[in-house]
Amino acid sequence: MTALSLLVCAALAAPRPPAPEPAEPPPPATAAEQAERIQAALGRIHGSPAPATWRSLGPGADEALLKVAADGAALPRRRALALTGLSHLGGARAEAALTSFAAQEGLPFAVRAAALEGAGRLLAPAALHRALSPVLAARRPADRTVAAEVLAERAPAESCGAIRARAALRGERPGLARALSRCGASGR
């Protein structure tokens, strides 16, 4: 157990059963409280907010998160986590936003990577393949790496052929090694 998990179960001495996921808290009673809770979710230092935390942010949270994600003046990690939150909230607006962000060249790496991973969480395999396979040819190698890993994990049947084809290009194989390994493990 590392510092991350110890802080979640800080009362334990000798080993104890892992704590169940806490019950979903009530939605915020006021707009100010919602804003506080969104800030807290975006500012968690160790580990990801639980899906229940995102879901408990209440009506309109998707709009607030989308505003953060689209704010070019906001710091990249904050925008990235807003996209992750959106992917947990789901819905047509979140799908459209994540697909759009995933397609954008020139975004800070953390932002685009979060969009790629969020799309992987939200889209069905065929739709995911359509949305992310063009990113296998993205300008930034790290974007290609993340896209390939998401596709290999979430849409192997649809995408492993394209990942292998990309890996056959000169210099591409090292960055796609983990994706290729996942494709191999999935038998695709």
Partner: protein, 509 residues
């Protein structure tokens, strides 16, 4: 030998973080407690450390036993490093603490022990079964009078450990570290120095606790707790072996035993993607003069100055190509085991160096969800190269945003390098022994009475920084060691007690 670039002094004017223009200050008139910043006598020296020479371990999980960078205790050195050798769990090992000692640190490093165990926990009519990774944790620590300073032979710990002699809630595999004093009660008792004489440590781990629970006469404190026997070929729980070190830090010559100020040397490891697709704005060669890292170091120095700490040498190292290939597009924190990506990355801290090692990576976890994470609380100070030797910090914001002019106040809302510095300082606080003031549930607190706490009643959900910046009973949000970060609330404050605990670390010189 690499060039050393002298840095200008971090200006005392920076000691207050910027309020955020356009945002209503959420907490006045409530005033969070905070210690004054120390005025450092000289500026940190920034150094290009070149490329980290760590060899590629391939698929091997690195768990090597490492030595301390401190001098060994000898006839000419009363304080430093004492090697208690390889010991079996359950052994009670004495060690001398000389007069004039400010703190003691005990470190266990695994030599041979079961990696994990299947545990049953019976409560009432129900029994839960789960698999847990073994944890290196001292079973008992006693002072020269035989007083039990710490025991892990217990189920459950205090929600608030401020009245206990030693607080420990940082269970980790392979390498475990315990430090004294680290609570309000102990800081008071040891104000003029840790009791001199022969202390004893009982070597332990979770396996040892399994063995005790399964013994004919199990301790009452372990009632309801049992473990399956280890599988064939696995070291029996009662035979785990650890290399045990004790580190002693000398007391200040006058006044309080814990020195009022100290110096910390830091190593920043740049774990970037391989060329031509680098994701960070700097490498080790450019970092000592690049605006993004200069800003980060300045802000980091400002935050640590509230703990009475000054930066000495700041070394930047490029990760070797094999590590950049493996970790350079991000590091997962999902696997918290000793062989997980995070723990293995920490083994790149260079052995033999008395440095606090911070690994800057492009992102941590899926969706960049994690800002930072450290090995253990406290870290195995001065023992680099272990799975717990350092901390990892997201560099996603390094160089991003708009920063104030040099010497301007820290701005964690708009200046990405300042935000990276804030998280680096938070993780450094953990490594130096500081816990979160309040955990997310509002039910567990650090062991210091001088830090504000925040209760469940302060919020309808997780206790947020904003909800914990209102009163002495709903406080702590602006403190550097609050569990969560909010650029509109977080101020990076530290209290006098927090500074004392940080300065007990053997890393501080």
């Amino acid at each position: 030998m690499h060039e050393a670039v002298p840095r200008r002094l971090a200006l005392p004017i920076l000691a207050t973080l910027a309020a955020c223009p356009g945002a209503d200050p959420p907490f006045p008139p409530y005033e969070e407690p905070r210690a004054p910043a120390v005025r450092c006598p000289s500026a940190p020296v920034l150094v290009n450390g070149g490329t980290n020479p760590a060899p590629d371990p391939g698929a091997t999980c690195v768990q090597a036993v490492r030595d301390s960078a401190l001098p060994a205790v000898s006839a000419s050195a009363t304080h430093g490093w004492i090697d208690l050798g390889e010991r079996t769990v359950g052994e009670v090992v004495p060690f001398p603490v000389p007069p004039g000692t400010a703190s003691i640190t005990v470190i266990e490093q695994v030599v041979d022990a079961a990696a994990r165990m299947t545990i049953h926990f019976a409560s009432g009519s129900t029994t839960q079964t789960f698999i847990e990774e073994n944890a290196a944790v001292v079973a008992e620590l006693r002072d020269p009078a035989g007083f039990l300073v710490f025991t892990d032979i217990r189920l459950g710990g205090p929600s608030d450990g401020s009245a206990t002699p030693l607080f420990f809630e940082s269970y980790a595999a392979v390498t475990g570290t315990l430090s004294y004093p680290n609570t309000s009660a102990a800081l008071e008792v040891a104000a003029s120095g840790v009791a001199a004489g022969d202390w004893t440590v009982r070597v332990g781990d979770y396996g040892y606790e399994c063995a005790l629970a399964g013994s004919p006469d199990p301790p009452a404190a372990l009632a309801g707790f049992s473990c399956d026997p280890p599988g064939a070929g696995v070291t029996p729980f009662a035979q785990g072996r650890y290399r045990v070190f004790v580190l002693t830090r000398p007391a200040a010559p006058t006044g309080s035993a814990i020195p009022a100020t100290g110096t910390l040397d830091v190593a920043f490891h740049l774990v970037d993607a391989l060329a031509p697709g680098q994701l960070m704005p700097v490498d080790a060669a450019s970092a000592p003069t690049h605006a993004a890292t200069l800003r980060m170091v300045d802000a980091y120095a400002v935050l640590l100055s509230q703990a009475g700490l000054c930066l000495g040498t700041v070394t930047f190292l490029d990760a070797p190509d094999w590590a950049r290939s493996r970790f350079g597009t991000g590091v997962s924190d999902a696997d918290g085991s000793a062989c997980g990506e995070f723990s293995q990355l920490l083994t790149l801290s260079v052995p033999g160096q008395r440095t606090l090692d911070l690994f800057l990576v492009p992102r941590i976890g899926s969706g960049s969800a994690t800002l930072g994470i450290d090995g253990t609380i406290p870290g195995p100070a001065t023992v680099n190269g272990t799975v717990a030797s350092g901390a990892m910090v997201s560099a996603a914001n390094l160089g991003a945003g708009t920063c104030p002019a040099a010497g301007g106040p820290v701005d964690v809302l708009r200046c990405g390098s300042d935000e990276v510095a804030y998280i680096a300082a938070h993780e450094s606080g953990h490594y130096l022994g500081l816990y979160h003031l309040t955990e997310h549930d509002g039910r567990h607190w650090d062991p210091l009475t001088g830090t504000p706490s925040c209760r469940t009643s302060c919020s309808s959900a997780e206790v947020s920084p904003a909800a914990c910046a209102r009163s002495t009973t709903c406080g702590g949000g602006p403190n550097l060691m609050f569990w969560s970060f909010d650029p509109l609330v977080s101020r990076g404050y530290l209290t006098a007690e927090q500074g004392q605990v940080a300065r007990t670390s053997p890393l501080v010189r």
